[in-house]
């Protein structure tokens, strides 16, 4: 499941809703991305999506991860719009019988979100604003899965 959300959300409530009541799942891995930035600044970054297209691409990515790693379930919650410092940007949750698959799938999903998911991210730093593109490290990270 993919959810784009325009305001802050509660990662703990999402983790509990995702992991609760499971008796065949041994492992839930999660990744929470947080907006870094000077406390007190109104906006650390701003995320833009392409409504419809972004959800469809991420839903396809989630299905790929489910097949590839034998997951029981996976979920992505992703912010759009302006994000103040310290607020959550993205939460990825994966459920599998064993830990290795849960970890790898979560890692895989994050690598794809960083460099292949239809988001455009503007960072507001002390020196002004700039559009963020995948780093050299993001591009080498994603090579691990090909």
């Amino acid at each position: 499941m993919i959810r784009l959300i325009g305001e802050t959300f509660d990662p703990g409530a999402a983790l509990n809703a995702f992991s609760g009541g499971r008796t065949v799942t041994g492992a839930v891995a999660s990744f929470l991305g947080i907006a870094r930035g000077e406390p007190g600044r109104p906006v650390a970054l701003e995320l833009e999506a392409y409504p419809g297209f972004t959800e469809a691409r991420i839903a396809a990515l989630i299905n790929t991860a489910i097949d590839r790693f034998g997951l029981q379930d996976a979920q992505v919650i992703h912010r759009v719009g302006p994000i103040p410092p310290g607020e959550p940007i993205v939460l990825v949750l994966t459920a599998a019988p064993h830990r290795r698959e849960a970890f790898e799938a979560c890692d895989f999903l994050m690598d794809y979100l960083k460099s292949r998911a239809p988001f455009w991210k503007k960072e507001y730093g002390p020196d002004g604003e700039r559009w963020v593109e995948p780093t050299t490290r993001d591009l080498s990270d994603i090579e691990r899965w090909t």
Binding site: G33, L47, E48, Y50, G52, F53, A56, H78, I89, V90, M110, L113, K114, S115, R116, A117, P118, F119, W120, K121, K122, W131, V132, E133, P134, D138
Partner: protein
């Protein structure tokens, strides 16, 4: 008519987010040629590294055909998370 959407730095560069091009260009290449007549810097950016195009929300190649009323989105390098 083709509806064109710009994202990320392309939008900042062009100064617009959405615009209609008439008469409808027959292909993505024809649309880019129309754009070049108006804004050469934007046209150069559309051909720049890592820029992809989606036609009606599906990723398309440079020679893709366009239907009347197609939605064309130009997507600079993506970065979520």
């Amino acid at each position: 008519m083709a509806r064109v959407l710009l994202f990320g730095r392309l939008r900042d560069l062009a100064g617009w987010r959405e615009r209609r091009f008439t008469p409808a260009p027959a292909s993505l290449a024809a649309l880019k040629a129309m754009i070049r007549l108006q804004d050469e810097a934007l046209a150069d950016a559309l051909d720049g590294p890592g820029v992809q195009a989606a036609v009606d929300k599906v990723l398309a190649r440079g020679d893709a055909a366009l239907a009347a009323g197609s939605e064309v989105a130009f997507l600079p390098p993506m970065s979520g998370g």
